[in-house]
């Protein structure tokens, strides 16, 4: 029976289940198929810190949201159109976010009296009227899967475990997604267990057939490929893009890459990824702690490598003393903080932007460190290149602030041509750079380049340039220990001037204001780019001009930042913290910037941001309840 096909411009699906139900894998495979189909997409994995929280409980719910479209989109979407709930906990935890009239696919096998009670359902929501305003598809996913796998020589438990593949097959049919890649993926994953592989493939096909042959679903949906700029694309997460950016940067610099790191969520995947690329001259060192991670990276940098350390907020706190040493030694070093909810252990698997002030000021003494922040998963690649460029050119540690949303979120990425990557060639100092009073050639480790104020990078093994450096204040030029008051004042100001001077070497802040009539500017940094851009689109569609600008460099700010800010009647700064960039902007430029803040461990909903922006508009406000990113495009 041929089914009706309906075209949609975009769809938001959320897969939700127990931590052990394989929802991240299901979402990941659906994403991969969607990417290769050519849609624009954005994803939001949202999982608990516990590896296996108690089964069937609300804290144990793991979810994966994907927004895909036939046009360019900015966010994983505010409200899902489709919720796949593998158990009552997943339904209860997510139903509040679902768009009215949305589709719910539930696994009825898990809706037992006990499971319902466990999450506080007094009556079965599938049986009462509470889901009447949604399109409910109650399907016994587990028993259908087990039924389909009866002929396989596997245990019932193994058969049940394949239910996520059944669900993936069903959704693949419903949204017309290719399954070839998933089959290849499964073949690689279960190649050594042929029976399990066959069962998973069969479950996948059974899910597809279920959609096609039963009357549960009458309509199949189609989301056409997006008209993205020309090029070769792949799907990529922030942590992978960042890893590749480091590999590429090392190659562009002609130096080896040394990563010293201690495992910490959500940064560990960078360590995992880089450890696989030894052929690219990458050495990874899993240190005994965060301090040793940065220490080893600094030691490698002293030896002439691109030294990198990766961490998240608590780890950055531990690294601060060594970061200060790197400031004093004036050696290149890249410190990557994949921010998560804080303070302390906080929310390890959730996103936040609350380490900006720690990055900016979290060291003893005057210890300025340049800060770079990527704005999307794919942009992590270019941010890594930029961090390495600044570090090596200015002989300074650089902080790169990613976050949990960028790290695990995915988007289509236009793969750059390797030939177009920047030249980051580094030349070490190999000859004496001065003469002493008697005219003999000498090496002065703190004789600076007059343009960049960078000091020479003379690595051990270079004859005639033997010298000693350390954390004690050094005399200008010679680098000898100095407690002289005037020298210290000079050195502190010089180190600051060196970092401030980078402003002349970074692109100006660009404003997006299509009509040129805006008098409200929305300023952001880091991963809020997508939600802010989507919100600005909504506001413009509602008839209000609004300008958007996004900071890649947070220290120093681009040279034109003050001029840009002063052009607007109102500056709004959305941040996933309590106003840290706002504090810096107000303090630096004396501009009355207004923070719009949220610390829920999740990215902003663009609808919420649009409302916040509209609240700053002079005219009457339209009814936002009709506005969504997808309805406006």
């Amino acid at each position: 029976m041929a089914k009706e096909r309906t075209r949609r411009s975009d769809v938001i699906i959320r897969f939700a289940g127990d931590s052990g139900d394989g929802m991240q894998l299901t979402g990941d495979r659906f994403t991969s198929a969607t990417a290769s189909f050519g849609n624009d997409l954005s994803t939001l994995p949202d999982f608990p810190a516990e590896i296996r929280a108690p089964a069937g409980t609300l804290p144990g719910v793991s979810a994966f949201q994907i927004h895909f479209a036939d046009h360019d989109i900015m966010t994983p979407g505010d409200a899902p159109d489709v919720l796949v709930a593998m158990n009552p906990a997943a339904l209860k935890a997510n139903i509040g976010d679902l768009a009215r009239g949305g589709t719910i696919i539930v696994n009825t096998d898990e809706f037992t009296k006990r499971a319902l009670q466990k999450v506080g359902y007094d009556s079965d929501p599938l049986a009462d009227d509470s889901l009447a305003s949604y399109s409910l598809h109650a399907i016994p996913l587990t028993s259908l899967t087990v039924g389909a796998l009866e002929s396989f020589d596997i245990t019932k438990k193994e058969a049940e475990r394949a239910k996520n593949m059944f669900a993936l097959g069903l959704l693949s049919w419903l949204y017309h997604r290719p399954m070839d890649q998933t089959k290849v993926f499964l073949t690689e994953k279960f190649g050594k267990k042929p029976e399990i592989l066959a069962a998973n493939l069969a479950a996948l096909e059974a899910g597809w057939s279920f959609g096609e042959t039963t009357e549960t679903f009458e309509v199949q949906y189609e989301v056409r490929p997006a008209a993205l700029p020309g090029g070769t694309y792949r799907n990529i997460t922030g942590n992978v893009a960042l890893s590749y950016g480091l590999v590429a940067a090392a190659r562009c610099s002609g130096l080896g890459l040394f990563l010293g790191s201690y495992p910490i969520t959500p940064a560990s995947d960078i360590l995992h990824e880089l450890s696989r690329h030894k052929r690219f001259g990458v050495t990874t060192f899993q240190a005994e702690d965060e301090i040793a991670g940065i220490g080893a990276a600094l030691g490698a940098a002293y030896g002439g490598a691109i030294g990198v350390t990766t961490t998240s907020g608590p780890g950055l706190a531990l690294k601060s003393e060594t970061l200060g040493l790197a400031v004093a030694l004036e050696l290149p070093l890249v410190v990557i903080d994949v921010q998560r909810g804080g303070p302390s252990t906080g929310l390890p698997t959730k996103t936040e932007q609350a380490d900006l002030l720690q990055a900016m000021f979290g060291r003893n003494g005057e210890a300025p460190v340049p800060i770079v922040a990527p704005q999307s998963p794919g942009d992590c690649f270019f941010a890594a290149l930029e961090a390495v460029r600044i570090a090596t050119k200015y002989r300074t540690p650089v902080l790169l602030l990613s976050d949990g949303y960028l790290a695990n979120g995915a988007e289509p990425w236009r793969i750059p041509d390797v030939a177009d990557l920047p030249d980051l060639t580094v030349s070490f100092t190999t000859e004496p750079n001065d003469t002493d009073a008697d005219g003999n050639p000498v090496f002065q480790p703190f004789l600076r380049d007059p343009q960049t104020l960078a000091r020479p990078w003379a690595v051990p093994g270079t004859a005639g340039l033997e010298h000693r450096i350390g954390g004690i204040e050094k005399a200008d030029v010679t680098g000898a220990i100095s407690y002289d008051p005037a020298n210290h004042d000079h050195m502190v100001r010089t180190r600051q001037a060196k970092v401030d001077g980078i402003a002349a070497d970074i692109p100006p802040l660009v404003v997006d204001d299509p009509t040129g009539e805006a008098d409200v500017l929305v300023l952001g940094w880091g991963s809020t780019y997508g939600p802010i851009a989507a919100a600005c689109r909504m506001v413009r569609e509602a008839g209000h001009p609004v300008a958007q600008a996004h900071l890649r460099h947070l220290n120093p700010f681009p040279a034109n930042t003050g001029d840009v800010l002063r052009r607007y009647r109102r500056v709004i700064i959305p941040e996933m913290n309590l106003g840290q960039l706002s504090l810096l902007i107000r303090g630096t430029f004396l501009v009355d910037a207004r923070p719009v803040t949220q610390v829920r461990g999740l990215p902003f909903r663009s609808e919420d941001l649009a409302e916040a922006i509209l609240a700053e508009m002079p005219a009457e406000q339209p009814d936002m309840s009709t506005l969504t990113e997808e309805s406006l495009t």
Partner: protein, 350 residues
């Protein structure tokens, strides 16, 4: 004088004749007059020429403390880092630069208190570092608080009623941390110190050398029973590989391993000569070396052993890292980078 040292085969050698003077930097040495560090500095400067290495391929990395000023006074490459972190920094340097001879200078507070974690991990990994731990059993730079090696009951500024902490025995600690080379020597015994340094340098992997060092300002005479020519021979056990362990005036004391497995000190006259324990630093089992490190009477320092306790072959961490890098295959080309960026699944938008 140069010698061929397999452990240093990757470090460039020099044909030029070097002397101690070549290793003296232009910096004024600023330790207190009479400090034991002077003797160690002179011994190291005198010893380094014997390695026959290019001076620019030698690096000294230190932490914080009196001893950690050491790199400033040597005309090699050097880093004076932060408290306790020298082994971590030196690890990154050593692993990424096999052509360097990397030395760590640390003290009892730096290595065993704030930096204890880095020390034990550098030892168990067997990173190719030569770690010289100057042990004066006191905090000098902060002016006289007790250290992790101070004896129980130590009266200091921070412990007016006596310290309560039980001390570390650095040699025991290193042996417990899977170290492949562990030795102890004394600042004032230049010949012994130099001999131990030579053996440490010849060892592939991590070498921990504890150097008893006198702080004449805050803990003067801490090791006097081991230095006083009149009494030291009675107390000091000089470990020599392959030799029966005898000490005391005229060698009247000896070390045996009893039928109960215990290692103890006896009067040689009371046992058969053949019962004496023969020192074997190359023994796989570190048990006897550990037992030798425990013979000392912490009050009187009687039965203090010096020399090389343990010296066993295990591939250095550095070497194994290099082998993994080499085994990964040909260095990647720019086509390989393109392939990496593309991954298995791409699509093209026209």
């Amino acid at each position: 004088m140069t010698t061929d040292i397999p452990a240093l085969e990757l470090v460039p050698r020099t044909d030029e004749k070097q002397s101690a003077k070549d290793f003296k930097s232009d910096q004024e040495v600023r330790w207190c007059p009479g400090c034991g560090d002077y003797a160690i500095l002179a011994a190291v400067q005198g010893f380094l020429p014997s390695l026959g290495l290019k001076r620019e391929n030698i690096v000294f990395v230190s932490g914080i403390g009196c001893s950690s000023r050491f790199p400033y006074y040597l005309d090699t490459y050097g880093v004076h880092s932060i408290h306790g972190r020298a082994p971590a920094i030196a690890t990154g340097l050593s692993v990424s630069r096999p052509d360097l001879s990397v030395w760590v200078i640390t003290g009892d507070g730096d290595a065993l208190s704030i930096g204890g974690n880095h020390l034990i991990h550098a030892l168990r990994r067997n990173v190719n570092l030569k770690i010289l731990l100057f042990n004066n059993r006191i905090y000098g730079l902060t002016k006289g608080q007790y250290s992790p090696t101070s004896e129980v009951g130590k009266i200091t500024k921070s412990t007016p009623l006596g310290s309560l902490d039980y001390p570390f025995n650095p040699v025991s600690l290193a042996l417990g941390a899977e170290a492949t080379f562990v030795a102890r020597t004394i600042d004032s015994d230049r010949k012994h110190l130099t001999s131990v340094l030579a053996q440490a340098a010849a060892h592939e992997g991590a070498a921990l050398v504890e150097i008893y060092q006198n702080c004449n300002i805050f803990n003067d005479g801490a090791f006097e029973p081991l230095k006083d020519a009149g009494i030291r021979d009675e107390h000091l056990i000089r470990l020599e590989a392959g030799q029966p362990i005898r000490f005391g005036v005229d060698g009247h004391r000896g070390v045996v391993r009893g039928s109960d497995g215990q290692v103890r000190v006896v009067e040689v006259a009371d046992v058969a000569e053949s019962d004496l324990l023969v020192h074997q630093p190359g023994a796989d089992d570190p048990g006897v070396a550990f037992a030798l490190s425990r013979l000392v009477d912490p009050e009187t320092l009687d039965k203090t052993a010096i020399g090389v306790f343990r010296d066993v072959a295990r591939p250095s961490y550095d070497r194994q890292v290099r082998e993994q890098l080499a085994a990964a295959g040909e260095p990647a080309s720019s086509e390989d980078l393109t392939a990496l960026l593309q991954g298995p699944d791409t699509w093209t938008v026209v």
